[in-house]
């Protein structure tokens, strides 16, 4: 059996755990009870996907590696997630709608990411790495529900009130440039493409564009121009936000290494 490079598996795992952690910040703070539950469930799915991938890498690394050592004892400069996923749940803190928890930002990010993952997991189902293919087949089912959930809310916001429209548009304008990172293969992606364990992400660009354009049009939202800086989170060059996120996520495990309960 072919094996996907560990760094590629970590890229997928880090994506899931970092977004899972961000989405979990809504737990107990959701705008309505149903959404509080929905986001907790989305977060659980993502953390579950991350666990399956970390467990796979830990098994392949052998030695002392465990899912916990990979999630809790790697530093921010070793994480390989997209920058998009580590950004806080809000836009720049200026203007009349300034709040450190903005639901439109969360929904738009979940939409951009799950639109990508529905395409990517679908392709990864036929990866020549059978373990990765098995994880992809499970994760695809979950990503589809995440996509429907976020797309439905995006349309409600965009085609809703004047304020919900403005805030959804602000979130799209803020986050869309970060999606450029999806389409430039990193070294680990190139390695996975080369050994036949992953598809070329560039081949998914057109389908993603169509899905996003279609949903934004239904939501009466404008799609911003894509140009300028391409983030490099998946190459372990992150924004400052990841350090704080990991600081919170890893503090307990690092304060009490090996603790069980």
């Amino acid at each position: 059996m072919n094996k996907a490079p560990n760094e590629y598996l970590l890229h997928l795992a880090d994506n899931a755990v970092v977004l899972g952690q961000r989405v979990a910040e809504w737990c107990g703070h959701g705008p309505i009870l149903e959404e509080d539950l929905a986001l907790a469930n989305v977060s659980l799915d993502l953390i579950g996907q991350a666990r399956l991938l970390y467990q796979l890498v830990a098994t392949r690394l052998g030695g002392d590696a465990t899912e916990d050592s990979l999630a809790y004892f790697r530093d921010d400069t070793e994480f390989l997630n997209y920058t998009l996923l580590e950004l806080p749940n809000h836009d720049a803190l200026v203007g009349y709608a300034a709040s450190d928890m903005d639901y439109a930002t969360t929904i738009v990010r979940n939409f951009f990411y799950s639109a990508l993952m529905v395409l990517l997991w679908d392709k990864l189902q036929s990866s020549t790495d059978a373990d990765l293919a098995a994880i992809a087949a499970k994760s695809l089912k979950e990503a589809r529900y995440h996509l429907h959930h976020s797309a439905d809310w995006l349309v409600k916001f965009g085609d809703g009130t004047e304020e919900s429209h403005q805030r959804a548009q602000a979130a799209v304008d803020h986050l869309h440039p970060y999606t450029e990172e999806f389409w430039t293969p990193s070294a680990q992606e190139e390695a996975a493409i080369a050994n036949g364990t992953a598809p070329d992400v560039r081949a998914l660009h057109q389908a993603w564009d169509a899905l996003v354009a279609d949903t934004l049009a239904t939501a009466t939202l404008k799609r911003p121009q894509t140009q300028g800086y391409v983030p490099e989170g998946k190459q372990a060059r992150h924004s400052e936000h990841l350090s704080y996120l990991l600081g919170e996520m890893q503090s307990l495990a690092r304060a009490h290494p090996g603790a069980t309960w």
């Binding site: 149903e34 959404e35 539950l37 929905a38 469930n41 989305v42 977060s43 659980l44 799915d45 993502l46 953390i47 579950g48 996907q49 666990r51 399956l52 529905v118 395409l119 679908d122 189902q125 036929s126 059978a130 373990d131 293919a133 098995a134 994880i135 087949a137 499970k138 994760s139 695809l140 089912k141 979950e142 589809r144 529900y145 996509l147 429907h148 959930h149 797309a151 439905d152 389908a207 169509a210 899905l211 279609d214 949903t215």
Partner: protein
């Protein structure tokens, strides 16, 4: 060996899902197989439901405890592929769910166009099934939220008897 396997099936026959205690693990399709491993030991094969389902740890513990109680030595093996699907639920499980107040899946996932292996250009097909109320049987129901008390369920409301209810989503 066949009798040892039968003993294991019997020991686990009444083991139920920790969150939906009216259906057994076998009926849900979580308990997949009892088989002999390469080294001659016995293996109980389970397939996880949702990736983040917090009940999976409990399910493994429950199986180990039941095996120990019956004095049986066997390993519990988690198998990811083929991925668990609600298509594996037995008709009895579906009826038990309904009687318990949870509408069972109304759609077979394997019947979806391409079974998920097709190339998506736009939004993947949306659920189009009607979801009957588990209490009054009315088809006049509406989706409240795509996620309910657990990841595997959605929240619905009956527009006739006005009761809210859970729907076990096709997966």
């Amino acid at each position: 060996m066949e009798s040892a396997k039968a003993k294991i099936w019997a020991a686990l026959e009444h083991l139920t899902d920790p969150e939906i205690p009216v259906v057994t693990l076998r009926e849900l399709g979580i308990l997949r197989d009892v088989r002999v491993a390469v080294d001659g030991s016995l293996e109980v094969v389970i397939t996880p439901t949702y990736s983040g389902c917090p009940a999976m740890g409990q399910i493994e513990d429950d199986i180990r405890a039941s095996l120990a109680q019956a004095g049986i030595e066997a390993h519990v093996v988690t198998q990811l592929a083929p991925a668990w699907t609600t298509d594996w639920m037995t008709p009895e499980a579906k009826e038990k769910l309904r009687a318990y107040g949870i509408t069972p899946p109304q759609r077979r996932c394997a019947d979806e166009a391409g079974g998920g292996a097709h190339v998506l250009t736009f939004m993947p097909p949306r659920p189009t099934e009607t979801v009957p109320c588990p209490r009054c049987g009315s088809h006049n129901t509406t989706l409240t939220s795509q996620f309910g008390s657990t990841a595997c369920k959605a929240l619905y409301k009956c527009l006739d008897c006005l009761e809210p209810f859970d729907y076990f989503k096709p997966y």
